[in-house]
């Protein structure tokens, strides 16, 4: 009886102990970009296993929601594929801290050409999406694809765009804006833009929706985040080599993405708000971007600020290792950017 009593006391003490520890744990909420959500989901379990005093919940809601809820204080980390604009920052002083670099590929579904890489350029893609280039065997497409000119079919191109507000649309439309003056003065760029009304143009929801739509619609073209490269390959979609600022057609490989990032490292300002689209450099892949964490420098309590800073520091350190980033085809931040981010993190207080 006495032994049982002692065991019960021990069990009670243990549960009380863990409960106390659990109660003392800090709760962090990350919400926002669906592009960086897979990476957060790979980071967080690894981090929380080693640090039991913090509970991090991740949520995929969209870049705009991430920014808005971080500003409102409902979430501690707002993940966004786009940095905040000047107008947004004027309303609320927030830190835009890059934690990773992602990229985007242009996928297409042209039977017979899905296993090779067609060459495409900003002006050509802009022409497809505004309806001025209507068929796959258009002269403009043929002129940059001498190798496959004969195999290009006379079929109408079906441009697929994102119907929900998205960071993918932001970086895609930025590429078109930076490379094509007519697009810059027309639809411009943003997480949602006024797509020119093209016959057969389709709107899809989310990256999986883009993959699905491209796969089931022959002769379609779509822009899809690089974390979905495995999915698009599985679906049998081809992806293009894009014309970069230096005039070369490059594929979204790691070296090419890293080359683009490195070109703009020296130009990145202290607040790290810069577009990496259409970077100079002969190997630079033109559609890459920083994945930002939007964070309020004034947190609700010292414990929250402290837990937040430790997680961010880990993400900038161990989090940059290949075993995390490779699963989503992101590349690590260049060293100087890591330092800039660390300086921003130091501004967080509770």
């Amino acid at each position: 009886m006495k032994k049982l009593f002692r065991i019960l006391c021990a069990a009670l003490a243990l549960t009380a102990g863990t409960t106390v520890a659990a109660l003392a744990a800090v709760d962090l909420l990350e919400t926002g970009s669906s592009l960086v959500y897979p990476l957060m989901n790979i980071w967080v379990p690894s981090y929380t296993k080693a640090h039991g005093d913090v509970k991090i919940t991740t949520q995929s809601t969209g870049s705009g929601t991430g920014i808005s809820q971080a500003v409102a204080g409902v979430a501690q980390i707002g993940a966004s594929d786009a940095y905040m604009s000047d107008a947004q920052l004027a309303k609320e002083k927030m830190l835009n801290i890059p934690l990773a670099i992602s990229a985007q590929q242009i996928n297409y579904n042209v039977p017979g050409l899905n296993d090779v890489h067609l060459n495409l350029s900003g002006p050509v893609i802009a022409g497809i999406y505004d309806g001025s280039i209507r068929f796959w065997d258009d002269a403009k497409i043929k002129s940059i694809n001498a190798k496959y000119a004969a195999k290009l079919p006379h079929e109408a191109i079906i441009p697929i765009h994102r119907s929900d507000g998205s960071g993918d649309t932001f970086i895609f439309s930025q590429y078109l804006s930076f490379s094509t003056p007519s697009w810059k003065n027309g639809p411009g760029y943003g997480t949602t833009i006024t797509w020119p009304a093209v016959q057969n143009g389709v709107g899809a929801n989310g990256n999986p929706g883009m993959v699905q739509a491209c796969q089931s619609t022959k002769y379609s073209i779509a822009y899809i985040g690089v974390s979905f490269l495995n999915e698009t390959n599985k679906a049998g979609l081809g992806y293009a080599a894009l014309l970069n600022r230096a005039g070369n057609f490059v594929l979204p490989t790691e070296p090419n993405i890293a080359a683009a990032a490195n070109e703009l490292v020296s130009k990145t300002p202290k607040d790290e708000r810069i577009s990496l689209i259409f970077a100079p450099g002969k190997n630079s892949y033109p559609i890459i971007n920083y994945e930002y964490m939007i964070i309020n420098p004034k947190q609700s309590s010292p414990q929250t600020a402290d837990a937040l800073k430790r997680f961010l520091a880990w993400a900038l350190d161990q989090g940059q290792s290949k075993r995390y980033l490779d699963q989503v085809h992101f590349i690590p931040l260049p060293k100087s950017i890591v330092n800039l981010s660390k300086e921003q993190i130091a501004q967080i207080s509770g």
Partner: protein, 341 residues
């Protein structure tokens, strides 16, 4: 006996409606009704107050404009109108959403209502007694399928079927009609209407089955005794008598169709800035547009995009209200005709 127990046993009979329990019941239920009404008013008030800047900024152009443009978020300057500002170049037009909402809901009701009534008839009169509970549970289960799951099934099964099988079939038979023209990707008005019809079907079928099963047996048997077949009794006696519950469940179903968000979002094709040419073309509904545009709207520092989405919700509120009022007038009109005739 029961009488003496209820009356309290003694010689003095009680007047119904004045016991203390009755007062509690009366005031309790009245306060519940007040809460219900207040909730609706609160939602309406929220929408009106929140969208006020958008109402002033957009004016009537939102009902005639086809383009949805939240403006250049990264540009400089602002767009000024009606005393409020928006991002430069912003102009909000909701014609595409309004059309899609009304068209898809109308089509869905057209398909689902007769089928639901017929299925309810079958559920009561044709299903063998030992299977009745099972069938009833299964139909109610249809209402419990999450709308995201309907959306997933729509994307995975319905939309490819429309695109690969139905589209070419109809294009071959009716080449020069709204049914022809091929189905494109399959995401469009037809897919939306079909999914909505499937979703609202159980609301009407389960309710109708329930009220049909409560129809007085003597009345029914009387008709059969006079020589009517079961079918005649059902169509001429039971169904006309159940017009009121039928109407009520149809209004609830219509409400669900007008406001359905997730499933529609996934199969409608998310058309922006153009109206559909045939039933296969992509459409958009107010509810789906609110979800898909909300995230971008939140990036607008002027807040005008977010307010305009609230205005869209207000427009839907107005549409639902008008449809309900018109339907009630029609019902009352037909009753009056019957009585004078």
């Amino acid at each position: 006996m029961a009488a003496s127990t209820i009356a309290g046993g003694a010689a003095k009979p009680r007047r119904p409606g004045v016991s203390p329990q009755d007062l509690v019941l009366r005031y309790g239920t009245t306060s519940c009704a007040v809460v219900t009404a207040a909730t609706v008013f609160l939602v309406a008030a929220f929408l009106i107050v929140y969208s006020y800047p958008a109402l002033r900024f957009n004016g009537l152009s939102i009902l005639t404009g086809m383009t949805w443009n939240i403006g250049n978020q990264y540009g400089t300057g602002v767009e000024r109108h009606g005393g409020f500002v928006a991002a430069p170049g912003a102009s909000f037009g909701a014609v595409v959403f309004i059309f899609g909402t009304i068209a898809s809901s109308a089509l869905a009701m057209l398909i689902a209502t007769p089928l639901a009534v017929l299925a309810a008839v079958a559920m009561h009169y044709r299903v063998p007694n030992r299977l009745k509970t099972l069938v009833n549970v299964l139909v109610e289960l249809m209402a419990g399928v999450p709308s995201v799951v309907y959306g997933l099934w729509g994307i995975g099964v319905l939309v490819p079927w429309i695109s690969n099988d139905l589209g070419p079939f109809l294009a071959a038979r009716f080449p020069n009609s709204p049914l022809g023209g091929g189905a494109g990707s399959g995401n469009g008005l037809l897919a939306t209407s079909l999914i909505l019809a499937i979703m609202i079907f159980p609301i009407m079928a389960a309710t109708m089955r329930d009220v049909i099963s409560r129809f007085p047996k003597q009345t029914f048997e009387g008709a059969v005794g006079l020589g009517a077949t079961t079918w005649q009794s059902v169509t001429s006696l039971v169904l006309p008598a159940l017009k009121v519950p039928m109407f009520a469940s149809a209004m609830l179903a219509l409400g669900r169709a007008l406001g359905e968000t997730m499933a529609v979002l996934m199969v409608c094709g998310n058309a922006l800035n153009l109206l559909p040419q045939n039933i296969f073309a992509p459409v958009n509904t107010i509810a789906a547009a609110i979800v898909s545009q909300l995230d971008s709207a939140l990036t607008d520092p002027t807040g005008m995009a977010e307010r305009t989405l609230a205005e869209l919700a207000l427009i839907l509120f107005a549409i639902t209200l008008s449809v309900n009022l018109v339907a009630r007038l029609i019902m009352r009109g037909s009753d009056r005709v019957k009585r004078t005739a």
